[in-house]
């Protein structure tokens, strides 16, 4: 049986963060109810097309999935388990944001089978949190974290962000120290990137962003402090204690099959990519009208990946992982040696000190720093 990961999109937030350009918005109780109803319908429609698949991971992402009641998440999970084939011990993650969660809710999540939490902290500095437009302070986060442990969660990720306007090296160091003291199993550390369509983007002239040198210092600090405490970096922005790498996250980079459920969710199954409709009206119409015959029937932007595109993805996605990609895997998958397609690029990148090329091909530390540059080289025309 093929393995399958499920992504469930909950597009609601209490309020939009200033850096966020994901598909999310504020919604009334009614809107949320209606959406969950559609989502349940979609699950029922989709599941029959995945009889040959076994679900290895589920990820509730958003938005803020934790704005939904515990019982609703439970209901969705039940529906998934009822309709899809699950392996015995799947990784089931939900993103939670402090300020949208109670101890009770966490207990319900855990009881429902959620076994991994991803908590959006971003910063331990309240001023920085305000600047980001987060609805919580550090104290609220601590409370959430303690409840989570009490509820039984033994696999917790904490999301952190660097290069926040006004952030100093000192304050970032403090954030890292505070987080490390809590000993989460997994830490995601991203640096803030200005995306079009965000509040930050529109107000960038009024804000003081850390300089490149500072940004750089944050970045180095992250790697150093985390590795000192026994976290290993397994992906460009992700660090984990031994045995706690996020399975679901790796599916994306290893190009495993995943099905996105809910508004705008992205899927890739057997070398076809698509995404669900991105507006609520269209999504609703698709779900309500459709007798789904093919996997892509509810979706849009359908791409049947050519062999070339598959190779490109194999390289630039695989290289996000510190273990990189294996030449033997490439050969096995595409029937030709990696060198035949990428010999020149590999050599150039190796010469520039960006790649290590052995049986495995992976980014050097410097290569990670400029990974976009390296990855772009692997695009074929």
């Amino acid at each position: 049986m093929r393995e399958l990961s499920l992504y469930v999109h909950i597009p609601f937030c209490v309020q939009k963060c200033r850096y966020c350009d994901f598909l999310s918005y504020q919604a009334s109780v009614q809107e949320k109810e209606e959406y969950v109803k559609l989502l349940m319908q979609e699950i029922v429609l989709q599941a029959p097309l995945y009889r040959q698949h076994q679900v290895i991971s589920v990820f509730f992402g958003g938005g803020t999935p934790s704005v939904l009641d515990g019982e609703i998440i439970e209901k969705i999970l039940c529906k998934l388990k009822e309709t899809f084939v699950f392996e015995s011990n799947p990784e089931i993650t939900i993103e939670v944001n402090p300020g949208t969660i109670t101890e009770e809710k966490l207990k319900i999540f855990f009881a429902a089978g959620v076994n991994r939490l991803s908590i959006g902290l971003q910063s331990a500095n309240d001023e920085e949190l305000r600047c980001l437009g987060r609805i919580h302070d550090y104290k609220t986060f601590l409370e959430t974290y303690e409840w989570a442990r009490k509820a039984g969660f033994q696999n917790i990720n904490i999301d952190l962000m660097s290069a926040i306007p006004g952030q100093s090296e000192q304050s970032y160091r403090e954030t890292l120290m505070k987080v490390l003291a809590l000993q989460p199993e997994h830490i995601s550390a991203y640096s803030l990137i200005l995306e079009e369509g965000t509040w930050f983007y529109d107000h960038q002239k009024e804000l003081v962003f850390p300089t490149e040198e500072e940004d750089r210092a944050f970045y180095e600090l992250t790697g150093q402090m985390l590795s000192d405490k026994g976290y290993h970096r397994y992906e460009i922005s992700n660090y984990a204690k031994e045995g706690y790498e996020c399975l679901h996250n790796k599916v994306y980079w290893k190009r495993g099959d995943y099905l996105g459920l809910g508004l705008g969710a992205a899927s890739m199954v057997e070398e076809v990519r698509w995404n669900n409709k991105r507006t609520m009206e269209e999504y609703k119409e698709a779900v309500q009208n459709n007798k789904i015959l093919q996997r892509t029937d509810l979706g849009e932007n359908i791409e049947y990946l050519t062999q070339e595109e598959q190779m490109e993805e194999f390289m630039f996605l695989g290289l996000r992982l510190t273990e990189g990609v294996r030449k033997s895997d490439f050969k096995q998958k595409f029937g030709i040696p990696m060198e035949t397609v990428y010999g020149e690029v590999l050599e150039k990148m190796q010469q520039e000190g960006l790649l290590v090329v052995e049986e495995s091909v992976y980014l050097t530390a410097y290569g990670m720093d400029v990974s976009n540059y390296v990855m772009a080289q692997f695009l074929l025309n």
Binding site: Y7, Y190, Y252, E303, E313, F316, D369, V370
Partner: protein, 604 residues
Amino acid sequence: MAVVDQSKIRNFCIVAHIDHGKSTLADRIIEKTGLLTSREMQAQVLDNMELERERGITIKAQTVRIVYQAKDGQEYIFNLIDTPGHVDFNYEVSRSLAACDGAILVVDAAQGIEAQTLANVYLALDHDLDVFPVINKIDLPSAEPDRVKNQIEDVIGIEAQDAPMISAKNGIGIEEVLEAIVEKIPAPTGNADNPLQALIFDSVYDSYKGVIVFCRIMEGRISKGTSVKMMATGATAEVVEVGYFGAGQFIPCEELSAGMVGYFTASIKNVKDTAVGDTVTDLKNPCAEPLPGYKKVNSMVYCGMYPADGAKYPDLRDALEKLQLNDASLNYEPETSIALGFGFRCGFLGLLHLEIIQERLEREYNLDLVTTAPGVIYRVHKTNGEMIELTNPSNLPDPSEIDYMEEPIVSAEIMVTTEFIGPIMQLCQERRGRYISTEYIEATRALLKYELPLNEIIYDFFDALKSRSRGYASFDYEMKGYEESKLVKLDILINKEEVDALSFIVHADSAYERGRRMCEKLKDEIPRHLFEIPIQAAVGGKVIARETVRAMRKDVLAKCYGGDITRKKKLLEKQKEGKKRMRQVGNVEIPQSAFMSVLKLDEN
């Protein structure tokens, strides 16, 4: 067309400073004569090139024939010859004027007379045209028609008290202008029985008819079958069609005779054969002498034009060929650059002309261009007595072979309100100007005369002038000649490699300043690489300025959310696409825009 009574013809043009409403008035005249309904009028009928309308200036002279029912009950034929409105096209202006018998001078009631107004009026008076003024924009709150009338009388010395007071924009006073045309502009003279003598004032290329020659018949007549000869170029042809100008269309007729303005076609394949200013005569019955004033137009400004994508070289050649069909003043010849590959060295009348051609190539021919810094033609006198005309800095001989160099100088007239005389004089000094005189036109306005090196004004002089006078200065120039000058070649080295396409000739005294600013500019233009890139300016192998592009240290994509790989891929593709638009010099990738950066060295 029925035989036209010569006394009922009026051939005229409108002269004005840019923005004073010339084209708008032309529109109103055409509209009022009933040739077009208001609805058919696209704003500014005469400026029919898309680019012209956007820029609000006239590039090619346009001409229209209209019929006017005057108050005296008679029907008059008006030939309105629109003239280009920019100093780059001075010669074209002069030929258009030569085709007229009179001119309407449009002056903005708020702005008054400007340098360009004066230049154009003097040009019109030089051609013995009867000029009458019209005061436009009288409905503006800041209008001072009486002041402007006095100004016209004082400065130009033509009667202005009974000048029509109009608003071309709002259609006020247009009737008055039409009557004034009948009264004040003389009817043409010339005898239809004399040998043919016609002035070419413009031409366009049509892919079916060949060159369509715009001309004013001074003497004689021309019709289908006439064998004609262009007296300066020597080209001969047999006329296929003659006609006159409808609004936006060519209307064939039987014959054009003395006093008339119209066109002819003769299956001519090349506009170079029908040079503006040339005289057309009858091959079998030629006139004794050509009309005066013909001159071969020379390019004043040169630059290199390269396709961004080297494979598009043939496309660029084809496009230039096609543009040249319509624009005899555009010159080009192939050249090669180490940095940019195969391209063309192109000659233009001026910087505006350059910009227009560049935009047309990009827009109409969909070409992505890399343009090098424009330069003028320098005369290099070598020690062996030989003189070369240098259009490409890369071709400068070794300094040991150079005896001395000369550069082109222009006589410039700058009109400015008195409060800005100081800053403008300072600007001219900075640009190596030689002060000639100051004439006070009225208490608050002066005309500054300077001689300036052409290479100092082709870059950003006009912008600097505007910014230092808050838009109040206007400017006009004409070529004066060549003068010896202390010139050096400034080379730019990127990562220790000389980039030929970035070299330019500069006066020795400003080399350091230019070099420094060029380096600063390039530092911003060149993206970071994995290594540090020194950018140096050098004169004769000696580095005079340096900047450094620091090495790229971080380029990481943030979150790739919910498996949305497509978006990530797009970003990488964009990055890769950006690289394609760069030029590889050594191991450095230089964006196209960098090659034009010398143009943007404007003062801060």
